[in-house]
Each structure stands twice: as structure tokens, then as C-alpha cells.
Symmetry: C2
Subunit: 540 residues, 2 copies
């Protein structure tokens, strides 16, 4: 699978530069490329406790995307899935740490622990106050005392970040971070592996399978399970969490591991709220991609027991747009449908001449069915005749419920009938034609002027101009002549317009727009032909 990268080895620095350029001036970097890749806040004055995190890249937006007001002070970025060097971490610490000290927030991977750990030692040798916390929220490997650090790290970033922004002390922030770490549990699931830039993709997860309990570096999950659907996947994840959750209200973080669509993530959010732990979930962060594993089609769920204090820190405003906010989970509020969806039923009335006229028009169209289908077969799917004939038959069947004696209401009623009985675009377009004509008639226009207004509205919505090879090419000149010179001239004009459609090499609207010009040439547009036949036979 190709990817949008350039030089594989420069991917991380190019992405960091892209992030900084589009940050609106809130981010900067240290002058240490290519080995030292530290992203930091531009508004930092070292007056408060600095928060430094980082680790391998490939987890974007973590961690550089969470640098900003109320979250991280700096992020130290390693290569994809590889820890940054001791020097890089040290540079980050030295760049942002003032008298208030610095907290390192490190995910529990050996490389990160060691490199951040040694950097902390070196920074302390300069007399700096540096604390370090190690996030180990993953519950996938219960037998291993050194659990991995995954998306629950975001709770630490947000709570410690809000505290630091408010001016809390290093001791208090460290204690809070350790409390969050102790109380946070996470587990992930994926339907596929991820694609490391420049490496071939490992096809490890077979069809019908999912991996449960995976890290964020493409390593295999603890178990492969049969995969049925989103609800079952969420149940598998939440049952693991339920086993370690305390009673009481929690905040939950629903993290996209990178490759799941928003449609899937919202479906999973719905299943999460309905799950066995749903009643314990008071607040949610996400669904959003926060701690990703490149393009892995998977998700993770992190839960943390909620206190009033943490609620406030989690809800505090912060700068990074990658933080999706922390919101209350609530039942779906359902609002009653508005009145007016059932169109006002017209009051039927009798008017013999009108009934006969409508019947005559309909019969003309019914008789033309086969010819129009044959014409349409040359430029479309050969159903124009059947569509029109079907609508005509339905209209004849509906005569006794039409307001035949009230021509203003009649236009609207015909529009309504057509929108219900005639499928496809043409049904909607004719419904618009008659409904708009009805509107115009009710405001006092003559019948013909009203029909012209209906045509204009239909053209605007359908987008067809004269010469675009549609029924408009016959209908517009016919209505113009009808107003000026009567039905006979209208029929002539309709036929002329229809005939001209055979010489249009390129349709510009409707489905025929997608057809090869040579296929169209010489064939009259079936819609225009229908209009011409209607006027001709009415005039005869």
C-alpha cells in the first residue's frame, strides 16, 4: 500500500514541520534536526511546571498534537515506533524546565523508560527538579507486571496539563498523575494490522478474525477471536474492563487506532453506551483518533474512575484541537416529527372537461410507451416510456380524488401524486414543476404563466438549460408559443425543439451527460419527444 510520504527517513520531521506550520503559530521546534525532534509551545515562560511526554512516532496526534495550552509543554518524537534518544529527551527537558520543575509522562515501554529515565538523571545533575511517571494502563497482559502504556495516557496529559496550567506544584501534579495511572485501565481491538511507512504490511489477522488486547506498535494482540460485528467487539472489550472496574461513575476514552471510519467509531460509541459497563460511564472523550497505531483499523477503550476534581480538570478548556473535549454521555433525545409531512389532502371535486383533458394527456403518454423506451435505450436505460406511462396510468386511477374543479389546487395535487407514484429523477422534477406551478397559480398568475414559472423552478433545481438535451428543449418553446400564439403553434415549437435534440452531441444535464457523444447523435431525447407528442396530439 502506497502512502503519502516522501523520504522514509525524513517522514517524522516532515510531519512535525507540517504540524507546526498549520498550528497558527502556537508550536515551535528545537534546532536539533534530524536527531533531536522536540515540539514545544511558543507561549511558554517556564513560570509553571513543565509537562514533557513523547516516545516513538506513528501514534499521531500523540504526542506533538497535544502540545499546547492546558496540555503538554513539549513532546519528544522518536522515529516511527522507536524511542527518542536520551539527548533528545534531555534537550526537551532543558528547553522548558524552570524553577517549578518538570514532569515526564512516559508510556511503559523499555526504550522510553530508559531514555527518559537517563535524561531525567542528567537533567537532575543540572539541579533541575524532574519527576517521571510511567503510564501502564493496558490490561491485555494481566500476567506481566509491566503493563504497556496506551491511550489512557491522554487522561494523564489532560489532568496534569490542566493542573500545571492552573499553577499547581510539581509534587501535586505528580501525585495526581500517579493517581490517574493507578485508576486507568485500557484495552484495544483491531480487525487488521498497521502499515509501517516503507515496510510491507503483515497480513496477520485472517478473515472473520479480530485481535483483542493489542499494543500500539503493530505487535500481535493477546488473542485472536472470531469477529461477528461491532456490538460483539465492544462486548469483548468491555467485559475485560468490567472485570477490573470499581463501582461508581467513570470517564471513558474511545480511541480510534487510526484506520476505522467515523461511521464505525460512532457505531462503536453507540454500542459502548449500550454495553454492560454503559451505566457506569458518565463522561466520554471521543470517539476520536488520539493514540493511534498508524492506520490500524481498530479502537481502544480506556476507563478511569471519576472524581469531582478530575471532572473539572478533564472539562477545562485547552489549546490543542486534537483533544476532542470531554462530554457527558446522555440518552438520545428524540424530538417529535413536525406537522406538515403528510401533505394537505385536496378536497376532491368533479369537473368533466378537466377529467377528460387529463385522461387524454395520459393516454397519449401511455400510447407512446414503447417508442419512448426504444429511444431511451439509445441514450439511457430504456425506461422513459414505462416511467411516464406508469405515472399516467396512476394519474388516471387517481382522478376521483383530485380537485378537478379547482385548477390552482389541481396543479399541486398532480405534483403530489407524481412524487408518490413516479420513481427516479423525472418523478421529482415533474413534481417540482407542478408544485411550483400551483404556487404561482395561487398567487394569481394565468395557467400558462404558472406553468412557465413551474418550468423555471424545475430548471433551476434540475440544472437543465435550453440545449442541454432534455425535455426542456421541447417544453420551453412550447409554453412560450402557447402563451403567444396558441396550441397549434406550441405543437410546432415543441416538435422543432425535440428534433433539435438529435443534433446535440453532448448532453449537459441528466444521465445522458455521461454518455459518449457519438452514441447520442441522431437520436431525439425521449423526454423532449414525449412533450412533442403530447402537444402535437392535443393540437390535432
Amino acid at each position: 500500500m502506497a502512502q503519502f510520504i516522501n523520504d522514509k527517513d525524513a517522514t517524522v520531521i516532515e510531519a512535525i514541520d507540517g504540524l507546526i506550520k498549520t498550528s497558527g503559530g502556537t508550536l515551535a521546534r528545537l534546532d536539533g534536526y534530524p536527531h533531536i525532534r522536540v515540539v514545544l509551545r511558543t507561549d511558554w515562560d517556564k513560570s509553571r511546571v513543565a509537562l514533557v511526554s513523547g516516545g516513538g512516532s506513528g501514534h499521531e496526534p500523540a504526542h506533538a498534537g497535544f502540545v499546547g495550552q492546558g496540555m503538554l509543554t513539549a513532546a519528544v518524537c522518536g522515529d516511527v515506533f522507536a524511542s527518542p534518544s536520551v539527548d533528545a529527551v534531555l534537550a526537551g527537558i532543558l528547553a522548558v524546565t524552570g524553577p517549578a520543575g518538570c514532569l515526564l509522562i512516559v508510556k511503559n515501554y523499555t526504550g522510553d523508560r530508559l531514555n527518559f529515565g537517563l535524561a531525567a538523571e542528567r537533567a537532575r545533575a543540572f539541579g533541575l527538579k524532574v519527576n517521571m511517571v510511567i503510564v501502564d494502563d493496558d490490561i491485555a497482559l494481566p500476567d506481566l507486571p509491566q503493563s504497556r502504556g496506551v491511550a489512557g495516557t491522554l487522561f494523564v496529559h489532560k489532568i496534569a496539563g490542566a493542573m500545571a496550567e492552573s499553577g499547581a506544584s510539581l509534587e501535586d501534579i505528580t501525585a495526581a498523575a500517579e493517581r490517574v495511572i493507578r485508576g486507568t485501565s485500557s484495552i484495544g481491538m483491531s480487525l487488521d494490522t498497521c502499515t509501517v511507512p516503507g515496510s510491507p504490511k503483515e497480513h496477520r489477522v485472517g478473515p472473520g478474525k479480530a485481535e483483542l488486547g493489542l499494543g500500539i506498535h503493530g505487535e500481535a494482540g493477546v488473542q485472536q477471536i472470531d469477529y461477528h460485528n461491532a456490538e460483539q467487539a465492544m462486548a469483548a472489550v468491555t467485559s475485560k474492563l468490567a472485570a477490573v472496574m470499581e463501582p461508581g461513575s467513570h470517564v471513558v476514552l474511545l480511541n480510534n487506532l487510526g484506520g476505522a471510519t467515523e461511521l464505525e467509531m460512532s457505531t462503536l460509541a453507540n454500542d459502548l453506551a449500550k454495553s454492560a459497563i454503559g451505566h457506569q460511564l458518565q463522561l466520554i472523550v471521543g470517539p476520536a483518533a488520539m493514540m493511534t497505531s498508524l492506520d490500524m483499523r481498530g479502537f481502544s477503550v480506556s476507563v478511569y474512575r471519576l472524581s469531582a476534581e478530575d471532572h473539572a480538570w478533564l472539562s477545562a478548556p485547552c489549546g490543542p484541537s486534537a483533544w476532542p473535549g470531554c462530554k457527558a454521555i446522555k440518552p438520545v433525545r428524540v424530538i417529535e416529527l413536525p406537522d406538515g409531512l403528510r401533505p394537505i389532502q385536496p378536497i376532491p371535486s368533479e369537473h368533466k372537461p378537466t377529467a377528460e383533458f387529463i385522461t387524454r394527456c395520459c393516454q397519449i403518454l401511455i400510447k407512446a410507451e414503447a417508442d419512448l423506451n426504444a429511444l431511451d435505450a439509445k441514450s439511457g436505460d430504456g425506461d422513459t416510456g414505462s416511467t411516464l406511462a406508469g405515472a399516467a396510468r396512476a394519474l388516471i386511477g387517481a382522478l376521483d380524488r383530485l380537485p378537478l374543479a379547482d385548477h390552482t389546487q389541481l396543479f399541486r395535487a398532480i405534483g403530489q401524486e407524481l412524487s408518490q407514484t413516479m420513481g427516479g429523477s423525472s418523478g421529482v422534477l415533474l413534481a417540482i414543476f407542478f408544485t411550483a406551478a400551483g404556487d404561482a397559480a395561487s398567487s394569481g398568475l394565468s395557467m400558462v404563466a404558472a406553468l412557465k414559472e413551474g418550468l423555471a423552478r424545475m430548471q433551476k433545481i434540475g440544472g437543465a438549460e435550453l440545449g442541454d438535451r432534455t425535455m426542456v428543449d421541447a417544453l420551453k418553446p412550447a409554453l412560450d408559443q402557447l402563451e403567444a400564439s396558441g396550441l397549434a403553434q406550441a405543437a410546432v415549437a415543441a416538435r422543432e425543439g425535440a428534433t433539435q435534440t438529435a443534433h446535440i452531441r453532448k448532453a449537459k444535464a441528466g444521465r445522458a451527460a455521461y454518455i459518449n457523444a457519438e452514441q447520442l447523435y441522431g437520436n431525439t431525447d425521449p423526454g423532449a419527444e414525449a412533450v412533442a407528442r403530447l402537444f402535437e396530439q392535443l393540437a390535432s
Copy 2:
């Protein structure tokens, strides 16, 4: 490719419910499931102009994700890639439209035009003021007068949304929306097709190819081009835009079509800023997934000529978290590296007994190389002996630059040498051991107490406890005995500790943690063995 969905036909409504539940109470829906799927603001009082958009689903977060303060009033959601029905659109209009009227923002697809168009006619029949604008920002098909509506629609949502929130009139908002539509151009590129839920994936884009000029419904792009890298892909897109852009400053929207990683999108943002149109780009929205095509690994770029008025509307705060903000594009600010990265070089000094002691220790480790490698081969990759011997040889070679006469500084200097010459985790761990011991010695502790402090720090960062089958199992009892009873007892304790590692069935830290218990049993840990040999031979 499996996906996180349940019943295919219920995907859209489940995703809407998930979105509403996690919206913090800001969203609701109309009671029209399954056919009428309208998402609306819960804080709406009909006092201002309502904005209604929508269309097929599969473009999340568009459009329901953009419902909220300062953007849309309601979104009408069709099935995946299919227009919503006339009734659904009408329900949306009727539910939110008050005396100030309603603007429909419709992407230029036939189904959407017709269904929104007819719904508008029906709403007008109720006396409501309803305007409709059609977004046609795609420039991929210059010959077709009816361009598609793609991600540029977001500019309309944001600008019209901010105006509506401020109380502007329907006429003014409509005029502004039409101005934005006229001035907006978009084009997209993708490396792959998208996966429609429940349908097999079409593998249309071959290896080494990309599609340029695609819509957002999985339809083929206007052309397939050779794909080289992100920069060339961005150049292909921006050269199309350059051809239609006016001079002057623009706002640009960089949209993830769904499946590109954040690493790729940031890389593309960097390439966009460096591109031929880069100097004209003043503001950016994104990179972010805004108008997606499910999981398509692609992006689109939309540009709009910027005026001061639109700048303000685009930057106005708004509710939906899917809107990533509109930020200034700025060059990367580079901050000088902090002092202190080059560790303070110790002042060399001579001290013959210390030089001899260090040399003796090093020679013990050099002599043990082959034995330790053989032991390591049973639990690791067989290089413990070589790693230690290599570091020992390097240390002997460094004797003349060490502060041999100043034991406090000596610990730190040894730590520094090891961190530079000894690879892997063990090099960092021993560097932490000696650096922390140096810190402790400089604060007045005895040599042995300082070494114990160094061990404690190394254990904290490395995570190894007694009994975890590491060098700690020999080193900790040895240092304890060294303090209490002298070197001979320390050697006995080290050997006892090392011997016990052979009976530990499960390593809990270090790489051996991943090895099968039965493979470990009966073999002494090579790190512990090294410590035991060191103490034994020093004591002899």
C-alpha cells in the same frame, strides 16, 4: 475487509445515535427512524436563520458532525452515498425554520438537488421562507458545467453558520453563501478506493498509481497518474488549483478523505505550504477528516479567496468539535538547542590504585565474554558477554580521560562513558546506575551507599525487582553484604543470588520476560552471572 458495523441497513441510524449520545446533550434527532434521519441542535429556538444541509452518509463527520452552535442547525442523513428522501428533508426544514427563514446548503449531486429542491417547494407551500444554494466546488471535471460539491462545502457551512449565529438575514446569508460557492475550488487525490459497508472492495487503483480528481462517493477519478510521493501528489493537486486561483491571499482546507494517517496528512500539509500556491495560502482549516469518503486513503484541497469579512467568520468560535479551527499558516519557528546537551567534561586526574582496580574489573568481564554469551544464548540473543566485554575494553581505553582521583566525579564519568559506548538497554541502565550513584556520592553518601542508591534508581526506571531474573538478583544482595560484612561476604551473596536465577521459571522484566518458562529453567541469568564473577574474583 471486515468493519465495525452491525446490521448493514441500520448502520447510519446506529452511528447517528452514537454521535448524539456522545455530544454532551447538544444534539437531538427527529422521531422519524428508520427513514427520516434528521440531527438537530438542542439549543435552537428558531429566532435566527436556520441552516440545513445533508446528503448521503459515508462522509462523516459531514454533515451531522457539523451541527451545532455557529454551524448547521440540522443535518438530513441519507443512506451511505444516497440522497435522503424529500420527506426527510422537509421534516428537517419544518423542524427548525422560524420566521427568519432557512437556507438549504446542498452539494451538487442530482439526487440531493431534486430531493432538497422538492422539499423546499413543499416548505414554501406552508409559507416558509426557504432558500437553497448548490455547492459545486470540484474542478476535476472542467467540461461538465455541473461540477460536484465536495469538501469546499465546509467553507459555506462555517461562514453561513457564523453569520446565522450573529443574526444576519436570510438574504445576506444566501448572498454570502453564493459568493463563497463562486470563489471556492477543490480537487482530490487518492491512493485507493473506499470500502462501502457490506460491499466488496473494488481494487481499481493499481500499484504505483493514484487517482486525481475524484468525488466523494468512490467513483473513479478523472485520471489515473503515476504516484511517486507525497510532494508530487500535492504538486499535481496544487497545479490544478493554481490554474483557477485568483491572485491574493486564500484560505485553504486540507481534508482527509478518511483513510490517510495523521502522519501522512501532516506530511501533506508540509508539502502544501511548500507548494507553488503556498505563498498565497494565509489560513488553513485542517489537516483533518471533514468530508470523507468512508476509508479512502486520499485527501482533497479546497481554496477560497480570502476577504477580511470572511476571515472573521471563519475564525469565529463554533460548537462542533469536528471543525478543526482556522489557523494562520506560518513558517516553522526554530528555537536554539538549550545548553547542557554536551555533558560537562570531567577534568582527568591520575590515581594509580583506582586505575588498577577499574582495569581489574574490566578484565574479569572481558575474560567472561564467551561464557556469558553462551548463557545468554539460552534466554536471549547471545550477546551479553560481548556487550559487557566491549564496554569494558572501551573503559580501559578511556582511563586517561577519567577523573580517577575524584571518586564522586568518577561515577558520573563512568556513567557517561557507558552511555556512549555500550549499546542497548543494558548500556542505558548501567549509565543510570553510575550517574545516580555519582549524584548520591556528591550529596555526601559513602561509596557503597551511593552505589545502593544508584541501584535503586536503576531498578525504578528499569522496573526490575528482586526475583525478576536480572542482574539485580546478584547485585542487590552483594551491595547489601558489602555494606554490612565486606567483600568476601558480598561475593558469596552475589553467587547465591545468581544461582537462584536458574530456578526462576518466569522472567518478569527485560527481554527474557518474553521467553518460554521451560527454556529458562536451569540456566543462570547472564547479567547476574557477570555480577557474581566480578565480586568472586575481586574477593579472591
